[in-house]
């Protein structure tokens, strides 16, 4: 929750370069939080939040693991401060979960039947019929690694 910096320790270098983009994400999140609920389903109102959270975590993940543009120190500090979801990033490192949308969709305890996952985890090739899938937890349209 807190993006307000209550740490007394020093901010690692490299933060200034990315602070603009992180501020933009923060603004988007604010807008999503303050949107009205009119015309949306109850679950649908939460989708933008989950989406922005995913996007922000993705940004930081890519900076560190893919582009190697920030230091280990900065990365750890960002995770500690809550700019990215550490648990979600941990899943992205596993094979098959590289594009995972959110942690709720693989949580088998939340599902109706024993041991199942959300419909968005099913590859598009195996979901027959032409129906578009929008999962109820986060609005994801398919987050398996091969679609």
């Amino acid at each position: 929750m807190p993006k307000i910096r209550t740490t007394r320790t020093k901010i690692p270098e490299g933060y200034d370069a990315i602070s603009d983009i992180l501020d933009e994400y923060a603004k988007k999140m604010r807008d999503a939080e303050n949107e009205s609920h009119e015309g949306k389903r109850k679950a649908e109102s939460l989708w933008p939040i989950m989406r922005i959270s995913h996007a922000r975590s993705r940004y930081i993940y890519e900076l560190y693991y893919k582009r190697e543009a920030i230091s280990r120190e900065l990365y750890d500090w960002l995770l500690k401060e809550g700019y990215a979801d550490a648990n979600l990033i941990a899943k992205w490192k596993k094979s098959g979960y590289e594009k995972l949308c959110c942690l709720r969709c693989i949580q088998t305890r939340d599902m109706n039947y024993q041991g199942s996952t959300c419909i968005c985890r099913v590859p598009k090739a195996q979901v027959r019929s032409g129906t578009v899938v929008e999962c109820v937890h986060c609005g994801c349209r398919g987050c398996s690694s091969d679609s």
Partner: protein
Amino acid sequence: MPPKADINKAGWEQSEFPILCETCLGDNPFIRMSKQEYGRSCGTCARPFTVFRWNPGTGGRFKTTVICQTCAKIKNVCQTCLLDLEYGLPTQVRDTALGLENEAPTSDINREYYAQNMEGKLDGNKSGLDTGRSASAGKEMLKQLARTDPYYKRNRPHVCSFFVKGECKRGSECPYRHEKPADNELAHQNLQDRYHGKNDPVARKIMSAHAESQGLKPPDDVAVTSLFLTSLPPSSTELSIRTHVLKSLPSVEPTQLKSIVHVAKTRCAFVNFKERSIAENAAQAWANGLEIDGERVGIKWGRSRAAVKPAASTSAAVTAS
């Protein structure tokens, strides 16, 4: 299962598997069903019961049980669609055809008490109805009216209410049907009425269609409130006719029967009712024929009052001479 310690919960229902009809289960022989103990309160007796939920084939809407097993057993109906398990017909149709009386109370604490009592009595026994003693004419009628194949249109998703207003934003991913809702008499149904078998529009439609096909279309003259019975057995008396008439119509009270005119010579009788609606109910119940003293009698509508008396006396005169 151990008996429930809490006396309040002792009346609540637990079950292992639901009582369902073919159509509700769907076309797929493989079904995955979820069970939730005390998921909802029963639609008719308001006691908590075990809710079962499954997908009846693709394109279906995930059906769930809406009444408890006890209530289903009392009336021998499916737990989801509330139609008879043997014939797939509404309760009202089956009851009028077989002449069964509805004893289940409909209000509040009465029905909970009744349901609880029946649960004890029916434990292990499959159905609450004794179908042995009912008329075979009634059973034939039901067999005629029943469907032969499962009717999967019942399992379709409900009509999208947003689409009806023109506001559905989900487009192709919307799981509800994008169709115009049918706005006829059949659209106003209600669980309690359907279960107890009174005031059910579907039942009315089925029975009046059947009665018409049997030549028993209610005559246009609304003043006609009598039915004409033919080929009575020679041993019948007015009393025996009256008894049989009332027995086959459990919902009709003896006071609503105005009179019975029995003409022994021609072996026919007129049954006069006080109200036109009662007469129509009788016609529908007897559409396949009524049994009196072991013989099937024919049923026709009587003619307008002016013509009734001469018809009886002329036919009597004809056979006499």
